[in-house]
Amino acid sequence: MDRREFLKISGMSFGAGALISFAPAIAAGSPAARVRNWFRRQNGEEPAPFTFAQLSDAHVGFAGPPNPTGTKALERAIDVINGLNPQPELILFTGDLTHESETPGEHAKRMKLFQSITSRLRAKKIMRVPGEHDAALDGGVLYRQFFGETHYSFDHRGVHFIALDNVSHGKPMVGAEQVAWLQRDVARFPHTAPIIVFTHRPLFDLRPDWEWFTRDGSEVLNVLAPYENVTILYGHIHRHDVHQSEHMTHYASRSLIFAFPDPATTADKKPLAFDKENPFNNLGIQIVADKGAVRVDDVELTLREFSGTNGVQQIAKPGIII
């Protein structure tokens, strides 16, 4: 397998947006066997196909004109995910689970409400990172009480997942201690290991004057640079975005509360107005790969087909109630 073919496969496998199939194309067929063998030789472990979902920026507790429906988009996304067959094995939340409150006890109530709503997910492996609205005012103290550590890593079916916290310092940064931890964490893996990083803010300078950046994001990317198969999932910007830095691909998920505009079209960062006729427009999950049905040769066409879509309504298979 040459490098071009590898990149093509990994680009398709991770997909964009929220329901992500890992390596569906390696499930069967001759090219699939080559990919499986190649991973086994390089990594000592053969990744198995599976799907997972990314959800982001639910802002439980937020109330305001950009979205008067509160938690409805989050609840709806959970209904959609619960209706999928097969079920995603993992759910990743990329921050801003809740909206902060300085009223005593109120932020804790919002975290409990988030737990209560998401407990309805049929998938039980739920991993999270905080957003600044969860953890920046108190350095993540309350968040840790509810959800545990703000950065950590784990392995799932041959893929190494890394949760990074770039919010709890108050400023948009990861911090030297966490960068050193990341270096130690990835050191044991071969450079071919599939790695998925999930975090809240973009790790590159997407739009610093909108606070769409991480001050020391380049240090994180430098640590990851030797690794050939890195995908970075993030939230914060409340819109879908795909960015390539070297061989790493960064995908931003949509929000579950309100959308921000394309920064190329406006100087001011203001939420898009609520559309009561189409309340979930630009919100929620976006399915980009269909249960492993895409073939290797169809990868680029498939990505084009699913890019720039308007939500799950346009691409969901018949029979999914949304």
């Binding site: 919010v167 108050g170 400023k171 948009p172 610093p208 004057d209």
Partner: protein, 113 residues
């Protein structure tokens, strides 16, 4: 002797004038949740300016990448930075230290003409 004194005086006066000309203009800015005051300033391209920023209520940040502004603000002290903007344009400085629900709107426009 008189001639030497005259030359010395001319040097002193010239030095004072040069020093006065090179003194940057000082602009005082206050920061509090969720605004900077003033919230818009205009600078001349090539002008040396000192921005002297004071947080009134809690810690904030003052960040603008293209102009090289990056201050940690605290109510305990005044922070300052001197810049000489070389490119004209409209630049938005932000608070980059999360300070509450209106944090995302805490910004200041710096016009360079």
């Amino acid at each position: 002797m008189k001639r030497l004194m005259l030359i010395f005086s001319i040097f002193v006066v010239a030095a004072v004038m040069v020093a006065q000309e090179s003194q940057p203009r000082i602009i005082a800015i206050s920061a509090k949740r969720f605004e900077f005051t003033p919230n818009e300033i205009t600078l001349e391209r090539g002008e040396r300016v000192t921005l002297r920023v004071k947080a009134e209520d809690r810690d904030h940040g003052f960040f603008q990448k293209e102009l090289g502004l990056d201050l940690d603000l605290s109510p305990e002290r005044v922070a300052e930075v001197t810049i000489t903007p070389q490119a004209s344009g409209r630049f938005v400085a932000i608070c980059d230290n999360f300070c509450g629900s209106g944090h995302g709107n805490m910004k200041m426009v710096i016009n360079v003409e």
